[in-house]
Symmetry: C2
Subunit: 137 residues, 2 copies
Amino acid sequence: MKLELTKLMDPGSRLTEQRALIYKIISDGGQHLDADEIYSRARQKSARISLATVYRTLQKFKQMGIIDELHFGQEHHHYETRQEGEHYHLVCRSCGKVIEFTYPLSSKIKKDVMEARDFKIVGAEVNMTGYCRRCRK
Amino acid sequence: MKLELTKLMDPGSRLTEQRALIYKIISDGGQHLDADEIYSRARQKSARISLATVYRTLQKFKQMGIIDELHFGQEHHHYETRQEGEHYHLVCRSCGKVIEFTYPLSSKIKKDVMEARDFKIVGAEVNMTGYCRRCRK
DNA sequence: ATTGATAATGCGAATCATTTGCATTAATAA
DNA sequence: TTATTAATGCAAATGATTCGCATTATCAAT
Ligand SMILES: [Mn+2]
Ligand SMILES: [Mn+2]
Ligand SMILES: [Zn+2]
Ligand SMILES: [Zn+2]
């Protein structure tokens, strides 16, 4: 994965141990981690990393477009590596479980909305909340 | 508007000046206000209100279902009175302007997703980001 | 109208998430 | 190998939201 990242790094920015580790944690680890979870997982691997570095790295990855920030209506955010096709999320109001789903939203809705509102869409976040099967019964 | 609220109040909870004022500000005022904006508008009307009360009231209204909380990827949230039909939002990455749009998402997508993932959907938030006409040219 | 129980408020302190300043460390190009 | 300077760690700062508690005021029952 170090190799993958190398290519992704912006010119002028450096590939550090911490960045490689954080990237690995986000891509390998269970999906949709938050900064604190990434931090504690990183600590288990490398004692020498700070929460500030986690936040700084998340910002950088986000602006580089290799991760996406998710807003599930909580006071903190979650992160995931950028996927090929867009996908959206279902969040269980009871247990917090996150389920991913794809839907051909993008293509049509974007086109319609862009035309109707004269707005150039570059990103979409769709979050639905409700109750998963387990929590329902 | 005091009359409207009366009916909406939960049994046991009280209709105070502060609550009526906050409700009025959210419904009258320009859309999608955040807690701080609501607070400062409230201060102009009534010197005697605290930010804590604004937050507590927002929580209460939210759980009562008379307002909705929006998550535009910022560190704080925005609020609007609950509308009849669902509607979604376009947020300009350049000027921050919020444009509303409706789309027959709900019906079909919900049905499909509920069936395919066995998930009972009770709420949906759709936020798209991009650039408004003004900012584009 | 008066009163009593207690929900809600104001205020300041506390908490949580994220950012920032700065001295130190380390990646990388020459 | 070395010099440049991006990135890090740490602690302090900031911003958003919540909490504790004494005080106030709503509202149901006199
Ligand atoms: Mn996902
Ligand atoms: Mn709206
Ligand atoms: Zn669940
Ligand atoms: Zn704009």
